[in-house]
Structure formats: C-alpha cells, structure tokens
Symmetry: D3
Subunit: 211 residues, 6 copies
Amino acid sequence: MTPLQVFLFFILFSSFSKADPLQDFCVADLNFPQGLAGYPCKSLSNVTVDDFVFTGFRNPGNTSNMNMFSITPAFVAQWPAVNGLGISVVYAEMAPGGRVPVHTHPGGTELIVVIEGTIIAGFISSSNKAYTKKLEAYEAMIFPQGLLHFQVNSGSVKAKLLVSFSSPNPGVQIISTALFGNDLSSEILEEVSSIDVAEVKKLKAMFGGTN
Amino acid sequence: MTPLQVFLFFILFSSFSKADPLQDFCVADLNFPQGLAGYPCKSLSNVTVDDFVFTGFRNPGNTSNMNMFSITPAFVAQWPAVNGLGISVVYAEMAPGGRVPVHTHPGGTELIVVIEGTIIAGFISSSNKAYTKKLEAYEAMIFPQGLLHFQVNSGSVKAKLLVSFSSPNPGVQIISTALFGNDLSSEILEEVSSIDVAEVKKLKAMFGGTN
Amino acid sequence: MTPLQVFLFFILFSSFSKADPLQDFCVADLNFPQGLAGYPCKSLSNVTVDDFVFTGFRNPGNTSNMNMFSITPAFVAQWPAVNGLGISVVYAEMAPGGRVPVHTHPGGTELIVVIEGTIIAGFISSSNKAYTKKLEAYEAMIFPQGLLHFQVNSGSVKAKLLVSFSSPNPGVQIISTALFGNDLSSEILEEVSSIDVAEVKKLKAMFGGTN
Amino acid sequence: MTPLQVFLFFILFSSFSKADPLQDFCVADLNFPQGLAGYPCKSLSNVTVDDFVFTGFRNPGNTSNMNMFSITPAFVAQWPAVNGLGISVVYAEMAPGGRVPVHTHPGGTELIVVIEGTIIAGFISSSNKAYTKKLEAYEAMIFPQGLLHFQVNSGSVKAKLLVSFSSPNPGVQIISTALFGNDLSSEILEEVSSIDVAEVKKLKAMFGGTN
Amino acid sequence: MTPLQVFLFFILFSSFSKADPLQDFCVADLNFPQGLAGYPCKSLSNVTVDDFVFTGFRNPGNTSNMNMFSITPAFVAQWPAVNGLGISVVYAEMAPGGRVPVHTHPGGTELIVVIEGTIIAGFISSSNKAYTKKLEAYEAMIFPQGLLHFQVNSGSVKAKLLVSFSSPNPGVQIISTALFGNDLSSEILEEVSSIDVAEVKKLKAMFGGTN
Amino acid sequence: MTPLQVFLFFILFSSFSKADPLQDFCVADLNFPQGLAGYPCKSLSNVTVDDFVFTGFRNPGNTSNMNMFSITPAFVAQWPAVNGLGISVVYAEMAPGGRVPVHTHPGGTELIVVIEGTIIAGFISSSNKAYTKKLEAYEAMIFPQGLLHFQVNSGSVKAKLLVSFSSPNPGVQIISTALFGNDLSSEILEEVSSIDVAEVKKLKAMFGGTN
C-alpha cells in the first residue's frame, strides 16, 4: 500500500466491539493483513468448536508425483486456530521409494512420528555431521530448527508420518527447488554452489528455473 | 543447597572443553541441575543420532487402571533431545470407556491427532464456555495453553492418539488428583471448591488425600 | 469476519499518519481487533498522562456475594496502558470468611501482597503437593504460572490485597465455575472429574450450568 | 574464571538426582553461577512453602537519608522464588519531601500503587515529553520499560508505595549516581552531559565520584 | 481513537487477499497503526528486492551541530524491512571533538564498529562502574541493553562508526535532552537530579525546556 | 556425562559468591557447559572493560582459498560479551571473484553493510523467489532468518563487509559443504537432492565427503 494510494476500500469490523472479552486463544482472521507473528484474532463471538478441529488429514493428497510423497499441512493458513499457539502439524505419506527432499524450516523445529512403514531420516548439523537413522512404526525423530534434513521411504509399503512443528508457520525451503526453480543466473549459481554449470542447467530444466 | 551445606561432591566436567563448538541443539544433560527453561547441554562429542530418536512409543503402558488409559510421554525427562526446542510429544491409548480426566498444562498448548478409534474431546474457556466435539480417526483438535480439557473414548474400540505440545516440558495438573490427592484440609477444600465436605472426603479417599 | 460478509463499516485512521514517531509504549486502542499478544497502539498524539494512571482501585466493588470477595482488575481491558508491557495489577478485598475459589491463570504468574488482614493462601504443584501459608499484613506470596491456587480470609477483619501479574492479560479460570457453569453433560462431567453425578447436578444448579 | 585458575572448590550436588521430577517453578539456588536470565533451580526436595513467601516488607528500612526514602526490594537476590517467573515487587516509603531520583530500569516496566500519602510521579518519553501526575492513595501509574522516571512525596505525610516489575531482576540506574559516583573524568562528563564542569565537580563530591 | 470519534477515513486493503502466501519476513506497512512489537506486513505481492536494500548511508547528515556528530538511522521507520527481524543499524560520523552525549536505548543492546578514526567510548553499569576504552579503526565495543553510554571523538580526524542494535526499534533517550528539553519544573528537576537549580535553568535554556 | 561416569574433576567456583550483585550483562564463562541459549555468566568481579571490546577485526584472515573470502566472526565463542545480548558481528573480505557460497543461519537474521567494493548479494524466499541486488559501498541489505543467501564480489577490488546478526550464535550451514562434506551415501544424496550421482561424487571429492 503506497502513500499515494487512494484509500477507498471499506473494512467491516461489524463483528468487533469494545465489549469483546479478552480471549484465551486467537483464531486467525485471515481477512486481515498478517502481522509480525501471525494474524489478528477472529472475533470471539464468531468462534465455534469447529475452529479448533482439523479434518483435512482424512483426505490426504496422492503420491503420484516426482517425489512420490504427499503433504497435508495444518499450518495457520489451513488451520487458523493454531495462530499464536506455537505449534502446528502435518500429515505425510510416502510411496515405496518416495522421499521428502533435503529442506529446512526457517522458523521451527520438526518432530516426526512414523505411523506405518519404514523410513530413513536424517539431518545435518552446522559441523557438517550427518545424523541418520532407519525408523520403524511408532518411532520418533526430531530435526532441530533451521537445519537441513530429509526422509526416504526405505521399505516396501507406503509410509505414513505425523509431523509436528514448534511454530504455527514454520516455513519450508526445499533446497533443490529453492536454488533451481527461479531466475537466478546459472553462472552465479555455479559460483555460489560449486555445482557444475551443466548440472545446474539440467536441474533448472527439472525444477522450472530460467536463466 | 543451603549455605551451610558442606561442599563435598565432585563434578566431572571431563567431557567439556573450551574447544567444544557451538551447538545447533542442546540435548539435555540430566545430571546437571535444571535451569529456568531446561537443562544444560550434553557435550557435543557425546551426542549421537540415537539421542534424536525416541523408541518408547513401541511399548506403551497398559490401560488396566482406574481411568483405562495409558500415557507414554516423550518430554525432556524421557527424551533429552527436545530440551530447548519448544516441542514434545506423547502417545496415549484409551480402552473403550476410558478417559483422560479434566486437566491443564500450565506450560503449553496441546494438539491431538486421533490415530484409531472415536473420542469426545473438549476444553473450557475463561468465559466458562465448553468447546466439545466427537473426533474420528485422522481428525485433530487443539487445546490452547493453560485451559481445562479432557478426552473420553466414546467408541467401542481402543482409541490411539498422538499428542504434541508447544513445550519440551508442558507440565500437567489433573484437577481431581491435584485437589484431593494431598493434605489440604477438607474444610478449606469445601470452602474454595464449593464441593460438599462429604463428597470431598469421598474424593480424598479415592485419590489418596489426607486431612 | 467471513469472506461473504459485506464490508460496510468504516474505520477512521484520522489520528494515524506515517509521521507518527516510534513509540516507547503501546497504549491499546480497544477499537481495533485484538492481536496475538494484545492490541494495536493508540496514536501517540492522542496519548496523555491519564492513560498511564489508573484510578479504579479507589472505588472497589462490594463483598456481598457468594464468595464474599471483590476483585477490581486493571488488566488491558480496564487499563489499556499495560498493553504489551508484561504486567498488570488487581485490587481485592475479602470479608471475614470470604475466599477466592480455586483457580488458575493460564497466561501468567500471580504475586500477592497483603495490605490489611490475615489470609490463608496456597497453591498446588504438578506433583500434587499443596503449599499453603497464613499471611499477615505486608507479607507477600507468589503463585507460579498456570497452577491451581486459592485465598481464604482466615481473620476477623476485612482483608485487602494488591495482586500483580506477569502479563497484561493473564486470564482466569475458576475451577468450579468452569466445570459446572456451562452445558457440559453431567455424565461426562462425572466421568472426567470423578465427582458423583448427584454432586455434579447440585454444583450445576449452584453455578448456573445446564444438562 | 580464567583457564589458569586452579580448581579447588568443590560443589555438592547431593541434593540433585536424575529422579528429580520436572518443576513448575525454579526457585533460584544462589550458590550457582548466574545464567543468562537467572539462576539454576534449587532442588525440588529442598523447596518448601516458605520459599514462596516474602516477609521483608514488615521491616522496611528507615527514611533518614539524603533522599528521605527507603526501598525494600524483593528481587531474585532477596526472594529466590521469583526466578524465571517474570515478576518482582518492591516496597517503598518516602518521608514528606522525600523523592526517588530520576532513574531507569534497563530490564523491565515499573507499576506503582500508592498505599498511603500523595506523590507526584512522572516519566519522560523518547520524544522528550514529560508525563507527570499527582497521585493519591489507591491510584496506580505505569512507567514503560527503560524510560527515565521519578517520584516525589508532595504531601505532608509519609507516602507508602507497592511497586511491581515485569522482571525478577529489572536492574536500576539512578542517573545522578551513575554519572557522578564513579571515576569518569570531569572533562569527559562535561562533554557528554553538557553540564558545566564546576557543577560536575560539585556533583562528584556529593555522589562520591573521583577524577 | 475515542469511541465518539466519527469514522470517516477509509482503508484500502486492495493489496491483501486470503490467497497471500505465508511470509518469511514482514516488511512493515507504515500506513497501518503500529502494533505491540512493530507493524503489520506489507502485502507480499508488493515486496521487491529494493525493500531489503538500504541506501541512506551513502548520504549521511553533516556534523555542523552542537555535538558535531551526525546519525543516519536505519530503524523500522526508515527501513521497513527490519520489522520483526530483531536487528537494525545506524551510520554515525563525529567530527574531531564531536561526541554522542550520554544516552540509553530502552529497547536494545548497541554494538559499534569503528570504521575510521579514534574514539573514547564507555558505558556505566548498575553498580555505577564506568567501563571506558579508547577504540581505533576496526575495533568493536558492545553496550548492554538499557545502560547509560557515550562516545567521544578523541582523535584529530573524522570518526566513522557502524552501529548495530538488537531491535528494529531500540529507542533512544539522550539524558540531557530528556531532562532539560521539556516542561518539567526546574524545582522538581533540581529535587530529582540533585543538580543545582541555576544549572538546571542554564541547561533548560540550552535544550529548549520551559518552566 | 553418563550416570556411570565417576565424578572426579573439581570445579573451582572461587570467583562466585552469594554476594555477587545482579548483573546488567552476562559475559560468557566458556569453562561452563553451554546452556539452552548460551553460557553461564563470568563472575562480575572478573569482568573488565576489555571483555566488552573486540579487536579481532584488525587482523582478518587472508582470502587465498577456494572461495577467495575470509570471515572473522565475533560470535559468543570469540567474543563472550555478546552472550545473551541478542546480537553479534562478523567482518568479511572477498577478493575480486570471491564469493560467500549459498548458506543459511538457522538461528538468526543477517544484515550486511558494504564498506568497500561492489558485490552482488541475494536471498531466496520460501516461495522460491530470488531477491538479488548489486550493492556499492555504504549500501546495506538484510537476509531474513533461516533463508538461503549468498554474496559474490562482482567488482575489480577487494570487497569489505560488516555483517551483523540478530543472535550471539546464529549458526551457519553452507549448503554444498553440509551436503557433500560428510559420510551420507551418494545414492541417498542423489535421491534427496535430485543432483546426478556422478555430480554428487565430484562434489564429495571437492568437499571431503566419503561414501
């Protein structure tokens, strides 16, 4: 919104009043602009029990894609009730051979519990040490905030995971997509990644990058 | 530790040295005294991938008890890797008819995902409004920090839940146990709870309280 | 505010401008919707010294009620200047025999100073241990965040207390009112509280609950 | 503690053990070195209700001093139970004509309630605006974190105040003492304060400074 | 904004929509009212790389003023991209003999790096101890949050400094200006600062104060 | 430190005593084990002004290495005074053609100011959008917490940068080194990065990885 912009739109705060009692929670009202750590609160009079329930995991996405995995997030954008509560959750499935590529969450720690199947999971520390482990059903692993990590379905059946985060909006940056799915020039990418320019161009083609 | 106490015990810091690099995580060393928000860090040279993996959910407790539920926590005391990472996790089972009694977590928000079975779950707000819902498998519900909440197995099969918290050590206060399982006098309890003294005495007998 | 809602109300930001200097404080403007941790700031040009002064304790409520106590809060709703400053204050009076029933503050620690009279105060820890003490005038006690606690006037004169909180909006949940002052079914309440259904029904009648 | 220092003292951790349950509070053990935000916790087995009670306000200091006021703090050093709980409290008395000189609290907001007497209190904002007010008994005022503020007894009787802080250890820096009670050279002081060097030397004599 | 105020201005949220993805940053939209810890976020679709670049240090102010220094701040008001990121930066120049008068930052720690020249810098602790040092080019010094500190150009060439802060909006309170540049009465000022009333009046004249 | 370890080492706390006043800062004592957010404090009696001054930037490392850059960090390990103050600083030089490879800081935001030379700097958002810019001397750029970013010396003279962080210990993870400088198997790396296994093996050779 630039200073020159004419202010014409009207906001309906009809559901707010000074009499609104103070809240124990702050269900996000996604109609408002996002603030530093989340959204303003939906008026208490409009909040019902259904705000606190998330049913999206009952219909997860399919795994017929390049990485053979599906992710169903319940971050604040999908589940406004987590706004400001320091937690969120994701349900993931990986077909045999599927993987969650190397990625980071800039804003939070990830904690997975395997519900079905067998996976290999790992993270890499700032000391460049890899911590990897094969996990069976009902085993859990934690990936500390901001570090590179990945999961691979190493078994012969579909793997199912419940994934918690220490933030309602942890963010995600998949390394290959982040590097090769935009318009950064291949020459700069080669320079700052040490990956050969021919490989860079192949990866750009794969991830939709240009230049 | 009183000022008069003779200092006799010796601490072995053999695993620490000034050369220890800065850590991306802080696996708790439970041998040290607890600090404000957790424990000092285990020396990095002693940390292995097994610190980041929790296998305790593979052998949950049984549900043959008064409330017909079992709780297997992975808080910092059971899983030192969650120390300082703002998250922890619990696995719970409830036999048909079982329940998790009304309780609060003074230090964090709770987020449940039903894995199997059908439950009724609810919380009560500061405005004394009850938010309750029947949840099927793969549905999730959130209980904002510090508020009274409960779960009941309303189905005919064992219910299984994965429960995340926005703290490595959320604490728990089960209301009936907290009120009636100690030596608070029955007269004061009647006065501050409005529960009839005869009922108070019955509950004290049930929960092991005295006076 | 649903997406379908017609935007009709108009907001006057006439008192805001880009030239507004950055503020050392954030007196709440209660006309705006509440955010994650409080309210947006009143424009600096409208802030006067009277915003920082609270005079409500000069006329406390009377103590002619079921619990024989009066509470005069200076939380953010009553004193917008505490917004964002991590503190608030309450003045309380208890007639002889009066009490503040068992309650928790989901969002903060409570610290009381007795100004006049004699009270018995206590809290209960997660280990179900009761910490209780008789307090005289000019003695102080602290009740750590989120734990059950109570006060009883054990003397023969009116007790007066100043009560500070580590939050501008600590919330409060009085256990008996929270459990028995709503529409939770008596059967579920019996199940999750272990209190006999007849007693539950008696308490529901007392606290205005239904079902 | 330098690397060359010979390690001779012994610490008795006899009161700690891995079996110590997780705590709802962290009563400071002042025998340990201070950490970033406070002290390590006293072992739970040594904590009693008396840790949570502060009786020091019953015997406040006298007001026969240069500023005719007395301050009885209950910060973490005097009341270890406030450690980590985000709050502390002070009792103050000012004789008629007494004053609390201009000062700041680097680590917290101050909230006063006048119990007896009449004072003039004020703070100065970053915009150099003074917010001052005469306060009667049972009126409250808040001084936002880090800003210059002061109190003066403007009445004819002793004034009594209860003062809360949004930190267990807010710190205090009395401007005149901080500037003129040390060995900063008078020439530098004149330069950085714009106060005439003769006045600087007079103030140094008053506050015990040298150079 | 009082309840009686007529709502006439209109806000254009045309740049916001529910489809806005969650952001990794929160470039301040200074058109919105300030919140507790900063501003709401500019819509992601309006954010460009230029938001993340600050060019104001290329044209610093001149040093022809009473204190012979110039300050070019890149706080949130000048550089909206720092909003919510816990950091900001300032460029300062001091002519020979110039100084930054004694001041505090209520909201953050200051860290300086000398780029050119020689300065004397110092801060004063709560124990009234002065920590001062002569600094050459490429030496750094840190001034912990909220404490009184100052810098003086003690060399014969212009000194240049880069100054970082642990907050996007640390605030600043220059002691002499804060005390003597407003309408606080000279008598109260003498009382609360111990500075002679004649000197107070001289300083009021210098800093534009009245009364 | 395992429970079975014999406690033999002795700690000298000779420099600590209960009389130690509360501190305004917490200069790290690196002899103690690291805690959740930093180190315990050095005893105040051992703190001098030199603790608050860092001189390491006067002798930066040379740029004769693979990436033609040198980094001189003043994180808590090098400058214990930044402990707990939410800030740190680094001095960097890049020879012409030098670069800081793509990396993240898991624990903080980075803010650079170019002192000499011309660079191209950029970061990539969670939406896979690249924000890149050519920066001249005395221009600044900010890289929000946890996101991939890089710098390249695009000019013909040595570039000099001052780099601030919003944490005393932001951590750093250089992507190529993190992925290819350890013992993760080339097959898993290919799978989770989409980089061809031949290129993976070439990179492993370059960065010292095995398997």
